[in-house]
């Protein structure tokens, strides 16, 4: 009932209100609902939703899994997801970085997955170093396994002092937030894939799992092809993080990979919609690190691109980050600036010398393109709204 109401009111995808009411009635609802289950929590700046879906698929090898598909990643979303599957012995939950300490305390996870940390919604989430410190404190009390990306300096700092860490070399890097050490402030020096602080003992740990070009190397040295249906280097990283986490819960490596490689559509992301003679691929990117990766993915072909930017509270109201995205890579391509803040994007594209037009409505922007393939890249609420409208 309340979930229907939530959908009617246009609040998220109906994942929130049920949980919100339950938490009002019982503030301990999350602790009660996770008690007796084996819980995995997934957090980080980018890749949370995809990794959570991959991990929940992999863990389904062991039994029924309760999970919050679709990005409702705050406590009310967790309560809703767990309430829907009261008998599932496993829970795999995507957790917003800001809520991680609270959820971690309530859920006592068997596995905590820490993907990456970079600048995102600075006005809402805060600066990266603040998040790193709060995650470090929260992870300190985790009795289970922490699966952490050792190619990310902030993640390494947050996870290093945990009793039981599994390190994954993901090969993914957005290093622009980590020129100085999160522990002591001294410069970080890179030598190839290795990095170390020049002032203290923070350094890249030896990885237990390694991400290769289309494969992973497990702790026992076994090389397993990933053959993912999702594009991009960052999804290889997500897959290896998910496999390492599933393995920690008892899923054999090959069983985990076989299940997670089938993921092809994550809450509407990566799916292609047919519309007015167009095949539009929908891609979500929320911050500079995400956009940078997505612009690499769309480089594979020279399709026209519709870029959709909003700046609602859930997106972050400050769009300064648009200038950290290398839009220059789109020069020579047909581009339309769209979304509620299409004009901010248009100014950025102007100075990037990317020719473009402005069509604020993203569906009309797709229609305005020549027939054929179109890449549509949208940030959070822009993607959510477009996805909902495209489904109608």
């Amino acid at each position: 009932m309340s979930s229907k109401l939530s959908q009617k009111m246009g609040l998220g995808a109906g994942g929130m209100i049920g949980g919100r009411v339950a938490l009002k009635l019982d503030p301990q609802a999350l602790a009660h609902l996770t008690s007796g289950r084996s819980v995995a929590l997934v957090t980080g700046t980018n890749g949370k939703t995809t990794s959570t879906m991959m991990l929940s698929r992999a863990v389904s090898f062991l039994g029924q899994v309760a999970t919050n598909h679709g990005g409702a990643n705050m406590p009310d979303g967790h309560v809703t997801a767990l309430s829907k599957q009261p008998d599932a012995p496993y829970a795999v939950l995507e957790v917003d970085e800001g809520y991680f300490p609270e959820v971690c305390r309530a859920a006592a996870p068997a596995v905590a997955v820490l993907l990456n940390l970079s600048r995102d919604q600075l006005d809402r989430v805060g600066e990266v170093r603040t998040i790193e410190k709060s995650l470090r404190t929260a992870l300190g009390s985790v009795a289970g396994v922490v699966v952490a990306n050792c190619d990310d300096i902030m993640v390494t700092s947050a996870a290093r002092d945990c009793a039981n860490v599994v390190w994954v070399a993901t090969g993914t890097g957005w290093h622009n937030d980590a020129a100085s050490c999160p522990r002591c402030g001294d410069p970080i020096r890179w030598e190839g894939e290795h990095w170390h602080c020049t002032g203290c003992d923070l350094a890249r740990p030896r990885p237990d799992w390694v991400t290769g070009d289309g494969y992973l190397v497990a702790p026992d040295g076994e090389k397993v092809a990933l053959s993912l249906r999702l594009p991009g280097k960052f999804n290889l990283a997500n897959a290896v993080m998910a496999t390492a986490a599933a393995f920690a819960l008892g899923v054999p490596v090959r069983e985990a990979v076989e299940r997670l490689r089938a993921v092809s559509d994550v809450a509407g992301r990566y799916r292609t919609i047919q519309r007015s003679g167009h095949r539009a691929r929908l891609l979500l990117s929320k911050n500079p690190a995400g956009w940078s990766e997505t612009l690499t993915v769309v480089r594979e072909a020279d399709h026209p691109a519709v870029l959709v930017i909003n700046a609602q509270e859930a997106d972050g109201r400050d769009l300064s980050w648009l200038w950290d995205v290398p839009f220059e890579r789109l020069r020579g391509r047909r581009v339309i600036a769209s979304g509620e803040r299409a004009t901010d994007l248009a100014v950025r594209l102007t100075y990037a010398e990317v020719e473009h037009t402005i069509v604020p409505d993203p569906l009309k922007a797709i229609d305005a393109m020549p027939p054929g393939a179109v890449e549509v890249i949208a940030n959070y609420t822009a993607f959510r709204d477009l996805n909902a409208r495209a489904a109608q």
């Binding site: 600048r119 600075l122 622009n176 020129a179 109201r317 300064s320 248009a346 100014v347 100075y351």
Partner: protein, 235 residues
């Protein structure tokens, strides 16, 4: 000595948290498009800071990065040397704090600044976040100053510095004035970044650096953006 107008982008790896790199791009493009040869000289952490550039752009950063940046700029005082011969310097957010005499963090520890600006900064009680609209002081440039602020710092100007603008919407230095001007040093708390939003300010810096008022340059997207942001701020 290069025949191009050099825009030094100072320590973007430490002070580039809020897209402030965009300020250097705007200066470079607005000169290049008008036929004034220009280039961006990126100075990363660990590299000496040249004293020969015409314009220096310093962005915002997190606390630890800010401390490291001050240390680096003291060890390599190229920008301070350039300032003493009248080079144009734009400091954003952390810039206004580290350019001053001292800045005091939320932990009450006071750090010495670079002493380029007659000001002191301290951490305010609350974080100022949101759209800002301000009126340029002393008719420095036309139109309003527009930007987005996200900072905890509060700044008090001494007699040698004057405000960049008077706040209409937002907080700025103290709820009343925004930014600082001292000689050819301009500081502001505003991101957005500030120069894409305020082409008049960009052109003022270009005029100071080249000695010539640049030709008009009309970018419809920028005009539209300024109108949209003013409306959003309720002005």
């Amino acid at each position: 000595m290069s025949s191009k107008v050099s825009v030094a982008l100072v320590l973007p790896d430490l002070l580039g948290t809020y897209g402030d790199f965009g300020n250097a791009v705007v200066l470079e493009k607005r000169m290049t498009w008008r036929g004034i040869p220009a280039e961006i000289v990126t100075v990363r952490y660990g590299e000496p800071v040249p004293d020969s550039c015409e314009i220096y752009v310093v962005g915002g950063g997190e606390d630890t990065a800010q401390t490291l940046a001050v240390r680096h700029l003291r060890e390599h005082p190229g920008m301070q040397r350039a300032a003493s011969r009248g080079a144009v310097i734009l400091g954003i957010c952390a810039g206004i704090q580290i350019f001053g005499e001292t800045f005091t963090r939320a932990d009450q520890v006071t750090h010495p600044g670079l002493g380029l600006l007659d000001s002191t900064s301290h951490a305010g009680g609350s974080r100022a976040i949101g759209e800002v609209v301000a009126t340029p002081a002393d008719g420095l440039f036309e139109g309003v100053l527009s930007g987005f602020e996200n900072h905890q710092g509060r700044t008090v100007l001494g007699p040698s510095a004057r405000p960049l603008a008077h706040v209409k919407v937002g907080t700025g230095n103290d709820g009343s004035v925004e930014g600082a001007v001292q000689g050819r040093i301009v500081c502001t708390y505003l991101h957005g970044p500030v120069l894409p939003r305020n082409p008049q300010l960009a052109d003022l810096l270009i005029e100071w650096a080249t000695g010539t008022k640049p030709a008009p340059l009309d970018l419809p997207a920028v005009t539209r953006l300024r109108a949209e942001r003013a409306k959003a701020a309720g002005v």
